[in-house]
Symmetry: C2
Subunit: 202 residues, 2 copies
């Protein structure tokens, strides 16, 4: 299974790389994340140039699509060409967004009828599209998930791994990346965030 | 003030980018992190190509040097040319290492007489150099710090920001990057990790 981590120019390194690095710890189990970019090279909000691993067309064939965040999200949603390339299908794909990525999912209509999580700067722009924003780090309904606050990207990764490989695989990844000695609390915090979001639906 | 985030081929994205992205939230206050690489382009352990922002010579002029982690740390410490380029001075620089970066600091002699934090895979190699490894995520003595477990890189960044700009600046950064609704606990956890490491010295 392949995960497209959509990464635009001006991206926030935390949002693309925490999710992709956690997911890529499952490569041995057949789950792989790939940095997916609209141009061959994108430059982060802090000036770091990264070469994309896949072009935007990859989003149509990926099993999971995560929309990263960055300082140009409002330019992205105003870019008809770029938006037209994001042909996603929530009936067969898991679709998630980190922070300002929620604005892109809202623009694409995937948040109609559900609340979302996002960062405090993006919040008014998501609300302006009629989407209620939660004071929570993670929310999922069906195949759609959003996370708010850069470090909540670990919850988005936990959701993807749990939904594709199961909770034990997510526990193993979280155990490996945890600060030494904080393993159990790190695992429980992430699983609680993912479960409470899904429990809210029940 | 400038922070060299030393990033070798085979690097772990979490270790270089969590630290650099947190520190770069202080650019407006004059603290800046720059990805510093031995070659113009380095490739991560997951195949992501990143263009370095500074060459290795930058480590001699930076105010802070953080050694990132990766799957080739043992090759790095065996590379006399690369090691000779790491001319660091703990009397005027803050020096930190994330996970397998501790092996590089040990090779350079900066961990003589102090214990270190590192990840579980690197642990036996650090211990083989006579350095005791702690079951903790972060440890600092004077101008030298080590962190263990990928997500402990937020503690390394907290230490750098606290030591250069003060605790309030660190609180502001942690507040911004926290998972939404988990702000206070995220801030307290990071400050506790940094303070308890320094308190252990007193």
């Amino acid at each position: 299974m392949q995960v497209a981590v959509v990464t635009f120019d001006g991206f926030n390194e935390l949002d693309s790389f925490i999710a992709s690095a956690l997911i890529n710890r499952c490569r041995g189990d057949g789950l792989e994340a790939l940095i997916t970019t609209p141009t061959p090279v994108v430059t982060s909000m802090n000036g770091v140039e990264v070469t994309g691993q896949r072009p935007m067309e990859f989003v149509t064939e990926a099993d999971v699509v995560l929309i990263g965040s960055g300082v140009k999200a409002r330019e992205v949603v105003a870019d008809e060409q770029l938006i037209s390339e994001l042909r996603l299908d929530s009936s067969r794909q898991l679709i998630g967004a980190q922070c300002s990525g929620a604005l892109v999912l809202a623009r694409l209509g995937f948040l109609d009828g559900m609340p979302a999580c996002t960062d405090r700067k993006t919040r008014p722009f998501v609300e302006a599209r009629g989407i209620p924003v939660l004071d929570e780090p993670f929310h999922a309904e069906g195949n759609i998930a959003t996370a708010g606050g850069c470090l909540a990207s670990q919850y988005l990764a936990t959701w993807v791994i749990t939904r594709t490989l199961g909770e034990d695989a997510a526990r193993d990844v979280l155990d490996y990346v945890s600060p030494v000695g904080e393993n159990q609390e790190t695992i429980e915090r992430a699983l609680r965030a993912v479960h409470s979001a899904e429990g809210a639906l029940a």
